[in-house]
Every structure is written in C-alpha cells, then in structure tokens.
Amino acid sequence: MSSPLLALRQVVKNYGGVRALRGVDFDLRAGEVHALLGENGAGKSTLIKIVTGAHAPDGGTITIEGQLIAELTPAVARTLGIACIYQQPALFPDLTVAENLALRLDATTAHARVDWTARRTYATALLARIGADISPDAEVRYLSMPEQQLVEIACVLGSGARIVIMDEPTASLTQKEQHLLYAVVHDLRKNGVGVIYISHRLEEIFALADRVTVLRDGQSVGTQALRDINEAGLIRLMVGREVAQVFPAAESAPGAPVLSLLGVGCNASGVHDVSFEVRAGEIFGLGGLVGAGRTELARILFGLTPADYGQIKLAGETLQLSSPQQAVSHGIAYVPEDRRRHGVVLELALEQNITMAIHRRLFPTTWLRFGAERALALDYIRALAIKCAGPDAPGGSLSGGNQQKVALARWLATRPKLLILDEPTQGVDVGAKTEIHKIIRRLADEGLAVILISSDLPEVIGMSDRIGVMAHGTLRAILPGGSDPRTVMAAALGTAA
C-alpha cells in the first residue's frame, strides 16, 4: 500500500508542566474519513493544532505523503493543502461572503489587482456546489451561525485542500445544514481528500467515518475500523481507566432541599426544561460535554441570563433572578469558569479581591475598615490554606490553584446558601486539586448546597453525591455518585443509557 496522506509518529506536546500529548501515532489515508474521539482534555485540540501548524510539537515526526516535514508552520500547512473548519466560524464580519472567500483563497501578493467579478462568480459557484442558499454579496455579520459555518465549509472546499480537519462542525448547524455538510464530506472523500472528523455525536461518526482513533489522557488508545466496533465498545475505549483517585467522603447526610428547579429554560442560551433539586450538605455534580449547557444553566441561576420560563425556588422561596445583585442577596454564589478573566482581579490586592462582594456588609458605615478587611482576609487565607506573600499581595502573584481559592474565598465571604462552582480545578496542579476537593467536601459537610460543574469525569463522579448529566441544553439523567463512568459518558453523549 502507498504511504498514508498524513502520518504522525510519537508526537509529544507539553504545555508548561502539563503533558497534553504523550507520544501519539496517527494515520490519515487519502479518501478516508477518520474520526477522532475522546473526552474533554484528551488531547484532540492539541493534535489538531499540531497538524495545522499552529503549535510546534516537542517531539515526534510528521510525514505528509511520505515526506518528512521538518517544521510545520501555518503557512507551510496551507501550501501543503491542510485546511481546518473550527467549531466557531472565524470570518471577517464586516466583509461580504465573496470578499471573505477571496481573502482566504487568493494567494496573490498584497498589491495585485483584484478581479471582483471573477471572485463573485467563483463564490457563487462554490456556494452552489455545497448547496448553500447564501448571496455572495451578503455581509457576514448578517448571516446566521449555521450560514457562516457553511461559508467556512465553502472556503475549505475552494482551497482544494487535501487534508481537511473538521472540529465539531455540526455543533452550530441545524438539521438541514447538517445534511449539506454530510454531502460535502462524501464529496471530499470521493475526490481522495483525507478528512479528520471530530465530533461528540456517536451516531454522526458511525454514519460518516471509515475509521476512528480514540485519544485518552494524551495517548492514542487504538484505531479501529468503524464496522468492527459498536457504541459500547467506543465508550469503553474513551473512558477506559477505573476511577483511581481518592475523593473525600461525605460525613453527614444531606438535609432539606435548598434549591429546586422546575422546568427551567432560557431561549437565548439554549437551556430548556431543566428540573432538579439540591439539598443542604449535598454536592450535586453537573457532568456533560463542553457546550452541553452547564455554564449556561449556572448563569441562569446567578441572574446573568434570566430564565424565560420555569420555577426556581431557593429555601422554599420562589425567585425571579434577573441580576447578579439579586442572586447574591438571596444567598447564591457563583465561582465562574474562567478565573483568569472573571474570577480574580490580578491587579488588586488579595484582601480586596476577597472582600469585593461583601462591601455592604463589611463596611456598613461607608468608610472602609482596613483592619476588619485584613482580619477577614487572614481568616480565609488560613482556612483555605492560600499560599501567598501576604494579604496585600496582588492577585496576579498567586499560582492557579491559589487564585481559585481566592475566588472561592470571595464567595464564601458572602455566606451563601448555594455555591455554584464552574470547573473549579481546571488548570490546577494535582496537589491543589486534592486540596480544593477537600475544601468543597468540607463546605458541603458544613451544610452548604453545592453545584459542581466539571468536565473532569473522575472528579464529577468521585466528588458528587448525585450527578446530573446534561446534553444539548437539557438534563438527560440524574445518576448516583460513584456511578460507572461509562453510564455517565453514555448519557453525556446522548445515546440510550
């Protein structure tokens, strides 16, 4: 057999101390659709970044049609005919469709004259070829998300790429556009293009792909022809390991319900018909894949995107949450996902970060009391074992895990009834992770109701008393803590559990 279109051998990539890829082998043949599957953080995105030249690998070799590529940069990748469709379209919103296509596809020099008539005709032809009903003169900003995605697809088609990567291309598409996309994939395969297809939707993978490679913890755990494997087998490959980590056990039984949701939904954020209850002293895990609607649900509960329908009850009282101030005053605390952006103010001193949400209570007489502030900050620094130079050290001087603790301290200082944690251990080292787990469990044991959103499967299974699994904007299943990871993954993938 001739050499494969693309071959990766023992590719290694480290980000700081995190080993994202630990020696991955991957083959792509001409005229095949090769699915890439794995949990969040298994290394799929990293692998793609290496193939598109966005990141250079720390080790291993990349071969394209038998030729060893010494240095793969984005420009080299482009000349080699590697193209990528990302989850989110990356077009210029102020330019028209034809202009966008021209920008991407014209490899002419900056001062060359542009033949707009030809470009327009070409754009029309491309759009017709994928069956999209979009005017080439439409400004991209006025196109819907799916339409923009179709323009992206047209771009890739027009570039004549030999290797096409599709990263969750159907995430923003409706049924109709999905079928257009599938037709394009078939078309590409027929023309001998190699397609790397990433998706969480198993039915899609079974319908489209020829082979599948499963990544787990930065390693390839096997490449299989799809006719040789079934859904259960794939899920087993993805999850694989047993839950080896030890998680702190609950010391008290959950008490009365604190939060109860009944048919809650919000049209703007795509969350619909969510119902569940969280009790005092209980950790309610929210599992699911990225984009399943977990953060969106948290934002509803914190009044950031108010619910359109349904009932939210906190400690028996029905709430209309339309601003974070209201949520805070009712005793809801939310530690957001991206702490670098919305958790800790890096320029402000630690103590100021901690007291940020409780000015009214701590300083009832308007004047700031620096002594009281410092005492409070020291209490939390001790209670959460925050490693810092002192309460006046700026937030930016702390490590990731300690920043997370500061964000946590700010919200604990509001003395909440309900604590929502969104990916509290993301990007945190192992030691700090265990510490944060212990803190969360201790808070629950002290009677706090906790909602724990986590994409880390062992974490959400090991920490939670009950696990709500979300998929496509709604709650799919509520499973007991310590459930079989395969059951959780099956629910998250939306297959029959």
Partner: protein, 309 residues
C-alpha cells in the same frame, strides 16, 4: 514604596525642576507671581481630579473643555444679570453635572464608546456656543472678581478650595467603598459585575462627577478675571488628560491616584514659567510638554511589559 514608585518618580522630577529653578532663577519663587501661577492652575486641578476618576474607570472625557466654556459663559451671564454668587455657583455646577449625565447616559446605558460620545459633545457645545454668542465677551460685575475680596485673599480661597477638594477626594478614593468600585470597574468590569457591583451605575456617576467638577472649575476661573472670554477652556481637555497620564494614571484603567495626577499637573504647569525664567523662547513649551508626556507613556509601557513577563 515600590507600589508608588511611579508617583514618586513624578514627584522626583517635579522637585528636580524646582531645585533647578531655585539655583538658576530664584526669582521664580517670589511669593506673588508664584501664588498667581498656582491660582491659575487651580481650576485645572479640580477638573483633573475628575479626569483621574474617569480614566481609572477606563473611560475618557474630551468634552470637559467645551463644558467648561459653556458653564463659564452661562455663569457669567447669570452674574451679569445680578444673580448672587450663592446661586450662580450651584447653577454652574449643576449645568456641568447635567452635561456629564448626558455623556454618562450614552456611555454607560447605551454602551457607546466614550471617546466618540464626548467628541460629539465637545464639538456640539463648542460650535453651539460660538453660534449663540458670536464670540462676544461677557463683562462681569465687580463683586464677582475674587468674590469681592482682595486679590490675595481671593487667590488663597481658590487655591485652598482646590487643594481641599483634592485631599477629600483622594481620601475618599481610598477609604470609601465607592472609590474601590471605580478601580474594580476600571480593571475588570465583568468581575466587578459578578461581585455585585453595578459597573454601569459607577460609569454614569463618574461622568456626572467630572461634569460637576468642570462646572465648579469654570466658576473658579470666572473669579480670576473681570470678563469671560468665550474661548476660555479651549484645550483644557488635553491639558487635564496630559496631567493625569503624566501622573501615572494608566490610560487602560484601574491604576493610578490623585496624588500622581497632582504632581503631573504641577510638573507641566512649571514648564512655561521655567522657560521664561531661563530665557528660552516660549514656543518650546508645547515641545517640552510633549516630551514629558512621551516619557511618561514610555515608562508605563516598559513597566507593563516587565510585569507581563
């Protein structure tokens, strides 16, 4: 010490200039001219205090010069009609606050970029004033100049008002929660919002505040001359922004304080008399100002690059 390095370095530069003047042109320090110089800068200082707040909130207001003119002319007309100063003063402050509220509404509620909003206000007010007044001067009744006091007493009143405001506001910025909200909103509006602070309200109030201070500054300027000329306040916005930036308030918001802005203002204000005393042509003033601003901005750039590492 390290934390206030930027402010202290401006203070150092100011002291160096003063020391140089003391050695080369001791005449600079004769009391009456010096008091006149400081009095002339008092209205600017008041507006600069407001500008520091605006810039710390990561906004900008370039309409202060025009608001200053309109307030001056209106206050002058009211005084000329025989209104007592006790009514003219609040009228001027209120008018300024009203313009500020207009800017603030567009920026905070409609979320328009402040540079465009205040550019529009700046041009509209300036042209509107020209249209209505046709460049006419307003002659003030005698009791307005120096508030009817002697010149020295009037000057002392103005200077102490400005300094009093500076101290009060500097203390408030540090010791009142509202002051901290300003810094929080300027560094990270979204985090502030998640922490229950209302960034829109803070932004609106900051604009109202600078408007009111501009109205007050206009009154303080009015009291220094027998008439109001309609071009008064021209270029004030640049002077004030320059002083604040030289004083170490980060144009990207969230950093800086009033003491730095004060030192920056004095440093820039010293340039013109220093040049006169050193017998350098006055044309060089703007060039020296430009050099000082450039130096300050470069220093900030180097600092932030260092801290990003």
């Amino acid at each position: 010490m390290k934390r206030y390095f930027r402010e202290l370095s401006v203070l150092g530069a100011l002291l160096a200039v003063l020391l140089g003047l003391a050695l080369l042109a001791p005449a600079f320090f004769s009391p009456q001219p010096l008091l006149t110089l400081i009095t002339r800068e008092a209205p600017t200082l008041v507006v600069a205090c407001g500008m520091a707040c605006v810039i710390i909130t990561r906004q900008i207001d370039i309409s202060v010069g025009s608001i200053f003119s309109v307030c001056s002319v209106c206050a002058g007309l009211l005084a000329a009609r025989g209104w007592p100063l006790a009514l003219v003063l609040p009228a001027s402050v209120g008018l300024g606050a009203l313009f500020g509220a207009f800017n603030g509404f567009l920026v905070a509620v409609l979320r328009l970029p402040s540079i465009v909003v205040t550019l529009a206000t700046m041009v509209t007010l300036r042209q509107g004033l020209n249209l209505v007044r046709q460049g006419e001067f307003v002659n003030l009744p005698d009791h307005v100049q120096w508030f009817g006091l002697s010149q020295t007493a009037g000057q002392l009143v103005l200077v102490s008002t400005a300094l009093g405001l500076l101290v009060a506001q500097a203390l408030a910025m540090r010791h009142i929660a509202a002051g901290r909200y300003i810094y929080a909103v300027g560094t990270d509006a979204e985090t502030a919002r998640l922490a229950g602070i209302r960034p829109q309200l803070v932004t609106l109030l900051v604009f109202v505040f600078i408007g009111a201070l501009t109205g007050l500054g206009a009154m303080m300027n009015l009291a220094q001359s027998p008439q109001v000329q309609p071009l008064t306040g021209n270029g004030l916005e640049l002077k004030v922004i320059a002083a604040v930036v030289v004083g170490g308030v980060a144009i990207s918001g969230g950093r800086g304080n009033l003491w730095g802005a004060f030192a920056g203002l004095l440093l820039l204000a010293c340039v013109s008399p220093a040049l006169t005393h050193l017998h350098v042509e006055a044309y060089w003033e703007k060039a020296v100002h430009g050099a000082i601003i450039l130096l300050a901005v470069i220093a900030d750039g180097l600092r932030s690059r260092q801290s990003n590492r």
